[in-house]
């Protein structure tokens, strides 16, 4: 189960994720972003309640980062220890702006 909460604020978008971002749930997030990212210049992911991420989830973050590189900026907040380790192993700590 993945909980997706999206809060728009002018050209900024806050995406709060909870639960599991995996092969079965990543397509949901991908679909939401494909419409909601239009015109957004500042994208923020809040991962405070995210328990699990697999490569399918990393792929969605990567393509969001690629898109935001074209149209603005993206940052990731509240990354827990276990997910941080996954970001480190995969080099995502260098790609993403983690605060």
């Amino acid at each position: 189960m993945l909980n997706i909460e999206i809060t728009p604020n002018d050209n900024a978008l806050l995406v709060s994720l909870g639960g599991r971002l995996d092969t079965t749930t990543a397509p949901d997030l991908e679909k939401r972003l494909s419409t909601d990212l239009e015109g957004v210049t500042s994208l923020t992911f809040d991962l405070e309640n995210l328990d699990y991420i697999s490569s399918a989830g990393l792929r969605v973050l990567l393509s969001a980062q690629k898109q935001m590189n074209q149209q603005g900026e993206m940052k990731v907040l509240h990354v827990g220890e276990t997910i941080m380790e996954i970001f480190e192993v995969t080099g995502f700590t260098d790609i993403l702006t983690i605060e």
Partner: protein
């Protein structure tokens, strides 16, 4: 021709009926039934050797005047003619039972309801203990057919015969050897036998039976537990009944008498026989009866097993243990012991009840045997809280939508040993990557099965997860690692899964054996 005084008019036909005597025969039959045409008519064909189409027309006309017509004791040649011409569909036609002698024949199996003899090179006969066994034979034939349709390789009897005062059913079993025979004559085949024996058991237990087709084993075991209440200390008796009652209904097949005499190797095919005990229920019921076959029956007098199976007690015990391990999909001694103890509770319950009902309490050795089983049972009941268990291996359609099932299966086994959330997540990530890989590529564009096995081993505490599929040979460990130092723009979407798996796990090993991709992941969890 003569006529017997019966409710039905019985007419005996003998010799040949063809165009030379059909008219005369017809005339005589009509005379005999005159005035009772609408009553039941029985034609006894014991001595009828031949019937031509002229004769068949006589029967057809008789059927029109006397609709309640049946033919009995029809010999096989005449039966074939009646069958071919569709007469067997139009009226009741009962075959004559062939008489078979089993004198001097080799006994190849012995079960609860009968004994199996080899009557010639290609055929065996199962002689039923019950003299009035026609209903039993019919039952066994029906359940064997059901099993065959559901995918269990078995032999179906093609003929019913008379053997002395009993009935027998005849099966074709060419060049077949039972697993008991293989084990006792070729000890080097031990491992192969274990593998095949466990595979068949998994196959039986993964077969779902349509509702109402087979008896529910739980009902029977509940009645055993109720019987035992009078023969156990009160607390033990109550615990036993509560444990059995807590077993949920299960619509998967169990054989009911699964041991090495009931598994035959015919050429290269493994066949399950002796199907009359087929039922549905939780696999612990099956394991209980298996424990008895290999160990329980001979626990007091170790010599018993040799007479029954042909191999000794030590071999039987080793075979039971190895088969249980292979069936569960683990070599973890603690887990095997735990499941064995659950099986023993069912096993002893059955053994004690059986012995008491057979008046074993009247002999010294009988009493000693019951005492032994009873003290073990009371011991086990005191330390057991559930008779349920799960195997360490599941087979599942390799589809992405089944991922949650795979993950929760792995989680369940990790929870059994206690494992930090971080390690749990890492193992789940690796398992997801491998399973999804199989789902997306192994069988494309078809759908196939994947097996997942979770094993825990001690010292150091570690978990081994094995994925198996029959898809295209593919070694994911050979994938080139992505360059994780590249910028987002330069990074490819993909290739991360296998890389993460290799990073997260302590060991990732790929093999291709017997047409199967086998990927083994290992992680220290201490």
């Amino acid at each position: 021709m003569n006529q017997e005084k019966d409710i039905a008019t019985r007419i005996v036909l003998s010799g040949r009926i063809d165009s030379t005597n059909a008219a005369a025969t017809e005339h005589e039959i009509m005379n005999q039934i005159s005035g009772r045409e609408k009553q039941p008519i029985v034609l006894d064909m014991t001595d009828l050797q031949y019937i031509s189409s002229a004769g068949l027309r006589v029967i057809l006309r008789l059927k029109k005047t006397s609709p309640d017509l049946s033919l009995i004791n029809v010999n096989p040649e005449v039966y074939d003619i009646l069958d071919m011409t569709g007469f067997t569909e139009m009226m009741s036609v009962e075959k004559a039972y062939r008489v078979v002698s089993v004198e001097g024949c080799e006994e190849i199996g012995r079960g609860a309801n009968g004994t199996i003899y080899r009557i010639d090179q290609d055929n065996v006969v199962k002689v039923y203990n019950n003299a009035n066994a026609l209903a039993d034979i019919q039952h066994e034939r029906e359940v064997a057919k059901l099993a065959l349709i559901l995918g269990i390789p078995t032999a179906i009897s093609y003929d019913v015969v008379r053997v002395n005062e009993s009935y027998g059913s005849v099966f074709e079993l060419l060049n077949a050897r039972s697993f008991s025979k293989i084990l006792s004559s070729s000890p080097d085949q031990f491992d192969w036998c274990v593998k095949e024996f466990a595979e068949m058991l998994k196959k039986i237990h993964s077969t779902v039976v349509p509702a109402g087709k087979l008896p529910d084993m739980k009902e029977k075991v509940v009645s055993w537990a109720e019987f035992m209440k009078d023969h156990l200390p009160e607390a033990s008796g109550q615990k036993l009944l509560a444990l059995v009652n807590a077993i949920p209904h299960d619509d998967h097949m169990i054989h009911g008498d699964y041991h090495t005499k009931n598994l035959e190797l015919q050429n290269d095919e493994v066949l399950l026989i002796d199907m009359d005990t087929l039922a549905v229920g939780h696999p612990v019921f099956e394991l209980g009866s298996m424990y008895n076959s290999f160990v329980g029956f001979s626990e007091y007098d170790h010599g018993v097993i040799k007479k029954f199976q042909g191999f000794d007690f030590e071999t039987a015990k080793a075979f039971w243990r190895a088969s249980l391990a292979a069936y569960l999909g683990t070599n973890h001694e603690k887990k095997i012991k735990e499941v064995e103890n659950k099986a023993r509770i069912i096993g002893y319950t059955r053994l004690i009840r059986r012995a008491i009902r057979r008046n074993a309490m009247e002999t010294d050795s009988g009493r000693a045997e019951i005492e032994l089983w009873k003290s073990e049972l009371i011991d086990l009941l005191a330390k057991t809280d559930s008779l349920l268990f799960t195997r360490n291996e599941v087979e599942i359609d390799a589809l992405n939508e089944n991922l949650p099932q795979v993950i929760s299966f792995i989680e369940e086994h990790l929870d059994e040993v206690g494992c930090s959330p971080k390690i749990k997540m890492q193992i789940q990530i690796a398992a997801e990557e491998i399973f999804v890989n199989i789902a997306n590529y192994a069988y494309r564009p078809d759908v196939g099965k994947a097996s997942v096995r979770v094993e825990v081993s001690d010292d150091p505490l570690s978990v081994v997860i094995t994925f198996m599929d029959h898809g295209k040979p593919f070694d994911p460990t050979k994938n080139a690692d992505p360059d994780v130092t590249l910028s987002a723009e330069a990074r490819d979407i993909g290739g991360l899964g296998i890389f993460m798996t290799k990073k997260i796990m302590d060991d990732v090993k790929y093999e291709y054996v017997d047409g199967r991709n086998i990927l083994t992941l290992k992680k220290d969890i201490s």
